[in-house]
C-alpha cells in the first residue's frame, strides 16, 4: 500500500483526538483523546519506518538498518505515555476526591 494511506489514516486519528480534547468536558475522555493522538503518532512512525526500510532496500542496501529507530521511538512513546497515565490518573483522582466530579467545567476557580 502507498504511504499516503497510512499518512491520511493517522492524520485522521490525530485530528479526531485533537477535536476530542478541544470539545469534550470530561477529564477522562479528554485523556483518552490524548492517548488517541499518541497512538496515531505511533502508527505513523511504524509506517514511516517501513517506508524508509523499503527505500533503502530499493537503493540496493541489503543489510540496512534504515527505519529501525522509528520503531524504537514507538517504544519510548509507549513508556512515556504510561508514565503520563500514572501521573495523570493520580491527578484526576486527587481532583475527584476534592470536588466529586471529573468535569473540567469545574476548573474555573483560577479565572479572575
Amino acid at each position: 500500500m502507498p504511504i499516503n494511506y497510512y499518512l491520511f489514516l493517522s492524520l485522521a486519528l490525530f485530528t479526531i483526538g485533537m477535536v476530542g480534547v478541544l470539545t469534550r468536558r470530561n477529564a477522562i475522555i479528554i485523556f483518552m483523546c490524548i492517548e488517541l493522538m499518541l497512538n496515531a503518532v505511533n502508527l505513523l512512525l511504524v509506517a514511516f519506518s517501513k517506508m524508509h526500510y523499503q527505500a533503502a532496500l530499493e537503493a540496493g542496501q541489503l543489510a540496512t538498518q534504515a527505519g529501525v529507530e522509528g520503531q524504537l521511538f514507538v517504544f519510548f512513546i509507549m513508556v512515556v505515555a504510561a508514565a503520563e497515565v500514572s501521573v495523570g490518573l493520580a491527578i484526576i483522582v486527587m481532583m475527584y476526591r476534592n470536588v466529586h466530579s471529573v468535569d473540567i467545567n469545574f476548573l474555573n476557580r483560577l479565572k479572575h
Binding site: 512512525l45 527505519g67 479572575h112
Partner: protein, 456 residues
C-alpha cells in the same frame, strides 16, 4: 554528561533520604549539597574532565554552549534552593520527594540543552514536565493547586502529542531523528517537512508559553504553590527556550524562510499580550506569571534572529532573568498575601530586602546597570538587523513593562504601611538576597565575564 548522570542519581538518593532521614533541615542540606556537586561537576566538564566516558552514539553533545547554559541553570537552582528551600516545608510532609522531583527535572534540563536527536528532545521535555505536573498539584487539599495541575497536565500532554506528530512528520521527510541528519534537498523542502516543522514550532510555543498558546500559563503559575511557580517560571522556562533555539538552529537552519516569519508573529503577539495583560493584574503572583510571558517574548527574539548575538544574549537573559525572578519569588513566598498592597512601606521596615527587590524589578524592566538591561539590549540588537519594526515594537513593550514593575517599587518606597506585621526575613535570608542582587548588577556591569566563558 557529568551533571546529567549525577542529577538523575541524586534524585534517587533524595528519595531514599526521605525514608531514612527524619529531620527536614538535613534533607534540605542534602539537596543543596547535591546541586553544589552538580555545579562543580559541570564546571569540571567545561575544563574537559569527565566522570565516565559514555558513547551516546551522537544523541547528546555537550558543547561549550550547552555546558555554560547548564552551569547558569545549576547556579540558578542553587540560589533557588538556598533562598526558597525552607518554604517547601510548608506545602506538605514530603519534602524529600519534592526535592527528588526537582533533581529529575534538572536531569531533563541537561538533556534538552544538549540533545542531538529528536528522541532526546522528546524524552527531555517529558522528563521536565511530568515531575512538574506533580509539583504543581503538591498542595493536595488546595483546590486551586488541584485545578492548576489538572490543567497543566491536560495541556502539557496535548502539546506533547503535537510535538510527537511534528517529530514524526520530520522523520518521514528526513529518514532520521538526528538534528543534522542530511537527506537530499528535495525531501528537505517537502510539505511533510514544513508541516512537521510548524507543528514542532507550535508545540515548543506551548511549552515556553508563547502567545497564542500561553493561556494555561497564568492559571498554572497562579494555582501552583509559589515555591514551585518560581522554579517553573525561571529555570525550566529558560531550559526549554534553549532547546527551542538549539532545535531551530541545528535542525531547521535550511528552512529558515519558512519559520522565521511565524516566529516573528508569535514573538510580537507574546510581547503584546504578556505586557498589556500584566498591567491590569491585581496580584503580584499573577503579574509575575504574565511578566514571564512577556519575558518569553523577548527570548523569542533570539529564536527569530538566530545569530551569534542572539545566542550570547540568551545566556545573559537566562542568567539575569532567572536570578531576578527567583529573588522576587523568594520574597513573595514569605509575604502575608500576594497583593500589591502587601508591599506597602516595605522599605521602611526591611530596607535591605526592599533594596534587593528594587534591583530585581529594575533588572526585569531592563534599566541600565542591571543584567536585564544588557540581556534586552542583546535581544533587540540581534533582531534589529532583520526587522527594525519588530525591534522597535519590543522596545515599546519594554517601556510598557516599566509601569507594572515600578508599581511594586512605588508601593515599597512611597506608600505608607497598612499593617506592620513581622515578616519572616532573617539575617541569612537577607544576606543571600543581597548577594543574588549583587550578581544581577555584576551581570549588568561585566557581561563579558559570562560571554568570555563561551570562547575558552
Amino acid at each position: 554528561m557529568n551533571a546529567l548522570l549525577v542529577s538523575a542519581l541524586w534524585g534517587v538518593v533524595m528519595m531514599f533520604g526521605g525514608i531514612l532521614i527524619k529531620q527536614t533541615a538535613v534533607v534540605r542540606y542534602l539537596a543543596i549539597a547535591g546541586v553544589a556537586i552538580l555545579l562543580g561537576l559541570n564546571l569540571a566538564e567545561m575544563q574537559g574532565w569527565q566522570l565516565i566516558a559514555i558513547d551516546t552514539t551522537g544523541m547528546l553533545q555537550f558543547d561549550t554552549y550547552a555546558l555554560l547554559l547548564n552551569s547558569i541553570l545549576l547556579a540558578a537552582v542553587l540560589c533557588y534552593l538556598l533562598l526558597s528551600g525552607s518554604a517547601m516545608e510548608k506545602i506538605g510532609a514530603n519534602l524529600a520527594d519534592y526535592l527528588a522531583l526537582l533533581f529529575f527535572v534538572s536531569s531533563g534540563m541537561m538533556m534538552v540543552s544538549a540533545f542531538e536527536s529528536l528522541l532526546i528532545l522528546f524524552l527531555g521535555i517529558e522528563i521536565i514536565t511530568i515531575p512538574l505536573y506533580i509539583l504543581t498539584g503538591s498542595d493536595k487539599k488546595n483546590l486551586k493547586s488541584n485545578e492548576a495541575s489538572l490543567k497543566y497536565f491536560l495541556l502539557g500532554a496535548f502539546s506533547s502529542g503535537i510535538l510527537l506528530m511534528g517529530i514524526t512528520l520530520v522523520y518521514g521527510a528526513r529518514g532520521s531523528f538526528a538534528l543534522s541528519g542530511v537527506a537530499d534537498s528535495i525531501r528537505l523542502s517537502s510539505s511533510l517537512m514544513i508541516a512537521g516543522m510548524l507543528l514542532l514550532l507550535i508545540a515548543m510555543a506551548f511549552k515556553v508559553s508563547a502567545a497564542p498558546f500561553h493561556f494555561w500559563t497564568p492559571d498554572v503559575y497562579d494555582g501552583a504553590p509559589t515555591v514551585f511557580t518560581s522554579f517553573m517560571a525561571t529555570v525550566v522556562k529558560v531550559a526549554v527556550f534553549a532547546a527551542m533555539v538549539r532545535l531551530f538552529d541545528r535542525s531547521f537552519a535550511l528552512q529558515q524562510n519558512a519559520w522565521q516569519w511565524w516566529v516573528a508573529v508569535i514573538a510580537g503577539l507574546t510581547l503584546f499580550i504578556g505586557n498589556i495583560t500584566a498591567v491590569f493584574q491585581q496580584s503580584v503572583k499573577r503579574m509575575l506569571a504574565y511578566s514571564s510571558i512577556a519575558q518569553a517574548g523577548f527570548m523569542l527574539l533570539a529564536v527569530y534572529a538566530m545569530n551569534t548575538t542572539a545566542k550570547e544574549g540568551l545566556l545573559l537573559y537566562a542568567a539575569s532573568y532567572s536570578l531576578a525572578t527567583i529573588g522576587i519569588f523568594a520574597v513573595l513566598t514569605r509575604m502575608k498575601d500576594y497583593s500589591f498592597e502587601a508591599f506597602n512601606g516595605l522599605a521602611g521596615r526591611y530596607p535591605w530586602v526592599a533594596a534587593s527587590l528594587a534591583i530585581f524589578f529594575l533588572s526585569l524592566a531592563g534599566i541600565p546597570l542591571t543584567g536585564g538591561f544588557l540581556a534586552k539590549f542583546y535581544m533587540i540588537k540581534a533582531a534589529l538587523g532583520l526587522s527594525i519594526g519588530l525591534a522597535l515594537f519590543a522596545l515599546l513593550m519594554a517601556v510598557v513593562s516599566v509601569y507594572y514593575y515600578f508599581r511594586v517599587i512605588q508601593a515599597m518606597y512611597f506608600k505608607p504601611v497598612a499593617q506592620p506585621d513581622a515578616l519572616a526575613f532573617d539575617k541569612s535570608f537577607t544576606g543571600l538576597l543581597l548577594l543574588v542582587a549583587l550578581l544581577v548588577v555584576m551581570l549588568g556591569l561585566f557581561p563579558e565575564w559570562l560571554i568570555a566563558c563561551l570562547y575558552f
